[in-house]
């Protein structure tokens, strides 16, 4: 699905990613954990195509495509989805209308006809129910006046609508109460198939009680410094990151 190889990236002359390597295969769920400032959101942003970052070395192969050469919208059309750590409010742009435009761009890319209004509305109904997002919110301006938790649910709602191949969830769990956490996790689990994959960025083991990862990675100082299974998350929760730092020196 995605092969990130020896990725180095700078922002404003400062090196943030320092040789990051990670492979995710179809059907897998990977969790990335790591201390604040380690570069987790940077990785997500670079994969999504944010232009402020300068990639100085390395490559990313997304289903045979050279991801780093693609525009943001082409990555999305090819099936990459980023659930933002901080979803943006866009006053005046209707959530539903924009989503329909987005969906049709993606369908066009796949050589499909635009979705009919009826089919689309049925899908909105189904998917908003899945993430228990108030349908009224679905039709408001994108994220405008949404609570923190509603914004996160809206991200998962969009993911459910767009059915990506690879979803990257950047701290979708932070700011969620325990019910919302369960709902979001349920959304992710329902959409899981052997054809798609998910990268979950989180600080908390509790999300991983709901979304069971196949692998857990520690991103520290711009690199994946340790990988394991779910047990690694438990260990991190108990011991913090110091022991990993100690292992590194």
């Amino acid at each position: 699905m995605i092969k990130i190889n020896n990725l180095h990236a700078n922002i404003e002359g400062k090196e943030i990613l320092k040789g990051l390597t990670l492979e995710v295969k179809p059907g897998e769920i990977h969790a990335i954990m790591g201390p604040n400032g380690a570069g987790k959101s940077t990785l997500a942003s670079i994969l999504a195509g944010r232009e402020e970052y300068e990639v100085t070395e390395g490559s990313v192969d997304f289903d045979g495509l050279d991801l780093l050469e693609m525009d943001t919208e082409d990555r999305a059309r090819a099936g990459l989805f980023l659930a933002f750590q901080y979803p943006v409010e866009i006053p005046g742009v209707s959530n539903i209308n924009f989503l329909r435009t987005a969906m049709n761009e993606i369908r066009e890319h796949k050589g499909m006809d635009p979705i009919s209004a009826k089919e689309f509305m049925a899908m909105v109904k189904e998917k908003s129910a899945l993430v228990e997002l108030d349908p009224k919110l679905a039709s408001r301006s994108v994220n405008e006046g949404f609570s923190g938790g509603e914004k996160k649910r809206n991200e998962i709602f969009q993911m459910a609508m767009l059915e990506p191949k690879l979803a990257i969830l950047d701290e979708t769990d932070s700011g969620l109460d325990i019910d919302a956490l369960r709902i979001v996790a349920n959304g992710v689990n329902t959409l899981k198939s052997d054809k798609n994959a998910t990268i979950v960025i989180t600080h908390y083991k509790r999300l991983l009680d709901y979304i069971i990862p196949d692998f857990v990675h520690v991103l520290y100082d711009g690199r994946i410094v340790k990988s394991g299974t779910k047990e690694l998350a438990i260990e991190l929760e108990e011991k913090g990151y110091d022991w990993i730092k100690a292992e590194l020196v």
């Binding site: 999305a76 943006v88 866009i90 742009v93 924009f98 767009l162």
Partner: protein, 418 residues
């Protein structure tokens, strides 16, 4: 001596023009003539023209047509009441007039006795020019308590090269009457044209009047226009100005509210592109108590375009319990585009509720990225953001023919798809 060298004699500008065909009061014409003879073209040292340079304009000469040419034109409304003016002259053949009860709709030249009581003043060079050289315009009169259901559309089309249209309109809505007028300014096969227009609007007691001003003259057109509006007691007035194109566009809107309990709405949108310059100067003068005015102007400025918004609200002494709201918002789509926005409130009464605000910014790049990250192309993302920004002004248009025309123009001219 130096100052005179730098400015342009106004008589040069108008030397090829013939005197007005309309019967303005003689005194007024004398006053206007003297004004032109003694006044130079305004410069940016003139407070009213601080950000709008007329130097290039002042060096040109434009020709007035002798007979009404024929021209193609776009109309907004399906209305049976349509008057067409070509280069400022009335073209009866292109017009379409049906008799409606209580409506007088003619070319002003056919009815210019109404100008005996005009309250137009010589306030600047362009009003002086208008009085001295106006060839024609419309006369709309809606009689007491009459409602004219279909909008009255007046098409002003410029065609040819270096043409001048000097237009004077008189619109009178009597007590209790209701009507709407569309002023549709456009060009067809035109180059370097000049339009000078004054519209005098009087909205009577308890009358209801909506004026739509659509400006799609081409990128070589200079337009200097003024609406002078007076509003009496219990009246409603709404003006909506859409400026989509032009080389230099100056809109002066002067609204004087002289009766209590009047309701005033002034909305406008302007889209700067290329090297267009667009300038809106608005004045709402609350002279009496218990009135409300709402003003919303929004601009989207691209390329090297420049914009000016100057909005004045006066609340005179004793004009208590006035609610006056004004807002101007601008989006700059390029680093080379500029806007000068100056809202001004002058309040001499103490029991009033007034607010004004002016914002200028760029498109939110985070939002553009967010939309793109969902698969929307960069162009479409920007357009969605711009439409969202300008959408609330478009939504103020309560005539679907006008809003449909506007959105179709936005699509053909800018590729915006709403």
């Amino acid at each position: 001596m130096e100052a005179t060298l730098m400015t342009t004699n106004s008589t040069d500008f108008t030397k090829n023009w013939s005197p007005t065909a309309l019967s303005f009061p003689k005194k007024l014409i004398e006053q206007a003539t003297e004004f032109i003879e003694t006044t130079h073209f305004p410069t940016t040292r003139d407070e009213h023209w601080k950000y709008t340079r007329l130097a290039k304009l002042s060096k040109q000469q434009f020709l007035q047509s002798k007979v009404a040419a024929t021209a193609e034109f776009d109309s907004i409304s399906n209305s049976n009441n349509r008057l067409v003016f070509v280069n400022g002259l009335f073209n009866a053949g292109l017009s379409n007039l049906t008799q409606s009860n209580g409506l007088t709709l003619t070319a002003l030249s056919e009815n210019s006795a109404v100008l005996n009581q005009t309250n137009v003043d010589v306030i600047d060079l362009f009003s002086a020019m208008n009085i001295c050289f106006a060839k024609d315009g419309i006369h709309v009169h809606v009689a007491k308590n009459q409602t004219i259901e279909t909008p009255i559309e007046i098409v002003f089309v410029q065609t040819g090269e270096q043409t001048a249209a000097v237009i004077h309109n008189q619109i009178t809505i009597d007590e209790g009457a209701k009507a709407s007028v569309i002023l549709n300014f456009q060009s067809k096969n035109a180059k370097n044209t000049f339009t000078n227009v004054i519209s005098n609007v009087s909205v009577g007691k308890n009358a209801h009047f909506t004026l739509y001003k659509m400006q799609t003259e081409n990128e070589t057109a200079t337009f200097i226009g003024t609406e002078n509006v007076t509003q009496e007691r219990d009246s409603y007035f709404h003006i909506h100005t859409s400026t989509l194109n032009g080389l230099l566009v100056r809109n002066n809107l002067n609204i004087k509210v002289i009766g209590e309990n009047a309701d005033t709405h002034l909305n406008g949108m302007y889209l700067g592109h290329g090297s267009m310059h667009v300038d809106n100067h608005t004045v709402v003068d609350h002279t009496v108590a218990n009135c409300e005015s709402n003003e919303l102007y929004k601009g989207v400025m691209a390329d090297k375009s420049t914009g000016v918004f100057n909005g004045k609200v006066f609340v005179r002494k004793d004009a208590q319990k006035i609610n006056a709201f004004q807002s101007n918002g601008n989006v700059l789509l390029s680093d080379d585009a500029t806007i000068n926005s100056k809202p001004e409130l002058e309040i001499y009464a103490d029991d009033v509720k007034c607010s004004h605000g002016s914002t200028t910014g760029q498109l939110d790049e985070e939002a553009v990225f967010y939309l793109r990250a969902r698969g929307i192309s960069e162009k479409a993302a920007r357009q969605l953001m711009v439409s969202a920004f300008i959408g609330d002004v478009i939504n103020k248009i309560d005539n679907t023919e006008v809003s449909d025309y506007l959105t179709s123009k936005l699509e053909t001219m800018f590729g915006w798809d709403f």
